[in-house]
């Protein structure tokens, strides 16, 4: 971890042109700002801890049970996985509005391959993953080669992938029992194991793995540092010899693949393969990324923050339900958290201005 912090501070010094803050005399408030600037996952972690504490005090042992806490993990697994992909894109100062559509398309492709073409389960999964990667490649080429703004490019592909889902599936839902008979592997991530009272699905394990791998890649590989550099300042990255377009394309392809994995997980969670499912997953993912402290302006943030961001939404949703409030209050709380998160981001940014 200290290694990664060192790299981040080196990175910050390039960005701010002020290499050694520590040597100047600074107020405690500035010290806090600097700490938060270097550790973008700190604020969401603090908010998460406070939320767990607060709801725990309000609700009591029912909330603190291992089962409840792991249920929250299960509920956020898909948003966490899609959010991990979204984090990569947002770090490059882009945005991917098509992530939810790619996820559902991949799940529909897996279903069609297994149920209608009679492919063995593992091959159906591979076909779904390939389609996810291909969708990402389309996004990447539009952004990196055609130079379309990511918002516009993925706004278009969101519509296109979404429409393909409905045309290709004929609006048909594949039922859970039929999947169990023909290709049980599609339900793999819905399977679970217990540790005491805690129940973990393989979907939760996948989320942790995806985030762990990306955390390593972003902090300890050249590719990861390039992603940050491209997001910070594309022209500077280009001058520094980074092949910006390759980095961008790779980010979108990886994101597409991650979305396809989320699609596989989705089948496990809801049992069926439904073209109607996951309609708002792009918004959920962006919410997790933003509350997780990753800047929409690129170059700053962390993948761990996204995990915490998704968990914060999960804790608020379940906590408020257990307190017996109407579902509207959850919606209101999440909205307030988004605004708060971006407000804090702006406040932290002041030190580099």
């Amino acid at each position: 971890m200290s290694h990664s912090l060192d790299m981040k501070s080196m990175h910050d010094s390039v960005d701010t042109g002020a290499p050694a803050f520590e040597e100047r005399s600074i107020t405690p408030l500035e010290r806090v700002q600097h700490f938060l600037h270097r550790n973008p996952a700190a604020i969401p972690l603090i908010v998460l801890a406070l939320a767990v504490l607060g709801f725990g005090l309000g609700i009591g042992p029912r909330f603190y049970s291992a089962f409840t806490l792991t249920l929250i993990l299960q509920q956020v697994a898909i948003t966490g996985i899609v959010g991990a992909g979204q984090t990569l894109v947002i770090l490059t100062a882009g945005i991917d509005l098509s992530v939810g559509a790619i996820m559902v398309l991949a799940s529909v492709v897996m279903g069609q391959c297994a149920m209608h073409y009679g492919l063995p389960g593992p091959l159906a999964v591979l076909a779904g993953l390939a389609v996810g990667g291909l969708c990402g490649l389309v996004n990447g080429l539009l952004v990196a080669k055609w130079r379309l703004p990511p918002f516009i490019a993925t706004l278009g592909t969101w519509s296109i992938f979404g429409a393909i889902v409905f045309i290709y599936s004929g609006n048909e839902t594949v039922r859970s029992q039929d999947i169990d008979q023909v290709a049980p592997i599609l339900h793999f991530f819905g399977g679970s194991f217990r540790i005491g009272g805690a129940v973990f699905t393989y979907g939760v394990v996948l989320m942790v793995l995806v985030i762990g791998v990306l955390w390593y890649a972003l902090n300890y590989t050249a590719w990861g540092r390039h992603v940050y550099a491209v997001g910070n300042d594309q022209d500077a990255a280009l001058l520094a010899g980074i092949r910006v377009d390759r980095v961008l394309v790779s980010v979108y392809v990886v994101t597409g693949l991650i979305c396809a994995l989320a699609g596989w997980t989705l089948i496990g969670r809801i049992g069926a393969i439904s073209p109607q499912a996951g309609q708002l997953e792009n918004i959920n993912a962006i919410t997790a990324v933003v509350i997780g402290g990753t800047s929409l302006f690129g170059g700053r943030g962390s993948i761990l923050g996204t995990l915490f961001g998704a968990l914060i939404v999960g804790v608020f949703s379940l906590g408020l339900r257990l307190l017996g409030t109407d579902p509207q209050w959850t919606q209101l709380a999440v909205g307030a958290l988004i605004i708060l998160a971006v407000g804090v981001d702006q406040w932290i940014r002041k030190i580099s201005a």
Partner: protein, 342 residues
């Protein structure tokens, strides 16, 4: 791919057929069908019913749909296109039951017959007629069935309500409140859910009418009370999601799920014991009768009549279950599958 290609070809053939036959029926009646979306199987079925009937009667039909549920603007545009096109009548499933009313008035003033399908306008007489399922009755049927199934245990039931959305659209309220009345719960204000104080109610949560929402809502309510033994669901996808949540914690035998829709997937789930009972509605019939009504209106000037005692024309609803309960009329899964949609 095979089936979808075949379906596409069939679709193209139908369209081509309509184009070829159209000039022959020059004097004919023309109608518009405007649905909420083009993706929900329910509306896909409605469109199919309208197209088949229009072809059989020689009515020219144009179809429009919103991009998403709630896309009022697209429906306004569609009505205006139909007026410009000098259509004789419009069949519309309103996305926004209030906001569409002024545009509907303009169409009626221009002499078009406007029939609301599936969802009533607010006020209901803003349309010339409404062809719909009695959603309250659909809810009441599953409520009465659940009460009969539980018998004495109904008095101590633990009930979860899986509703549609926080904005409580009319269909959401009518089904939910109908279920309460059927089960013997005092619904308080019949125009909204959530104001009841019956101790048997564990809670309400919203599903968006989809599997993922159904699973999450069920998980949340199980956290409030793991003893839930009766689950009301707004529709069958929500029911399928609720079942997954129950299965994940091994409670699928403890709780009975009831639902409303009558889609083919849903009826199969009744057959397999996942859903205890569902109320089947008939979108194909709504659309087909709507087309007929427009033709009758053009030829005779007669407007459709409401069903007795209702302020709309009831296209019927049937309870489907494998466990019939005395005093609650139901049809078999076999018959349900023969009449299912989607």
């Amino acid at each position: 791919m095979k089936t979808s290609t075949r379906r596409l070809l069939a679709h193209l053939a139908t369209t081509a057929g309509l184009l070829i036959t159209a000039p022959v029926l020059a004097k004919n009646v023309s109608a518009c069908l405007i649905t909420k979306t083009d993706t929900n199987p329910y509306f896909v079925t409605m469109k199919k019913g309208a197209m088949e009937k229009a072809k059989a009667l020689g009515v020219q039909l144009k179809t429009y749909a919103g991009k998403y549920d709630g896309d009022n603007q697209a429906q306004v545009d569609a009505i205006e296109s139909c007026m410009a096109d000098h259509a004789d009548g419009i069949l519309i499933t309103p996305s926004d039951t209030r906001a569409i009313v002024p545009t509907v008035q303009k169409a009626r003033q221009a002499g078009l017959l406007v029939i609301a399908l599936d969802t009533t306008l607010e006020p209901v007489d803003a349309a010339d007629a409404t062809f719909a399922t009695d959603n309250f009755q659909a809810g009441e049927l599953i409520g009465r069935w659940a009460k009969g199934l539980l018998g004495d245990k109904a008095k101590t039931a633990r009930i979860a309500f899986l509703d549609l959305s926080t904005s409580q659209p009319s269909v959401d309220v009518q089904r939910d409140q109908g279920f309460m009345v059927g089960f013997g719960i005092d619904p308080k204000d019949k125009n909204k859910w959530g104001d009841e104080n019956d101790p048997r109610i564990v809670g309400h949560d919203v599903t968006g009418g989809a599997e993922d929402g159904g699973r999450r809502a069920m998980e949340n309510l199980l956290q409030k009370d793991p003893g839930i033994n009766l689950v009301y669901t707004i529709n069958e996808p929500a029911a399928a999601g609720a079942y997954q949540a129950l299965k994940a914690v091994g409670l699928e035998k403890q709780a009975t799920i009831v639902s409303i829709d009558g889609s083919c997937t849903g009826v199969q789930n009744v057959r397999d014991g996942i859903i205890g009972a569902t109320s089947q509605q008939y979108p194909l019939l709504m659309a087909a009768e709507g087309i007929e009504a427009i033709k009758t209106y053009v030829e005779t000037g007669k407007k459709p009549q409401n069903s007795q005692g209702l302020n709309f024309h009831n296209t019927g609803v049937n309870l489907i279950t494998t466990h019939p309960v005395p005093g609650v009329p139901s049809i078999s899964v076999k018959e349900g599958l023969a009449r299912c949609w989607g």
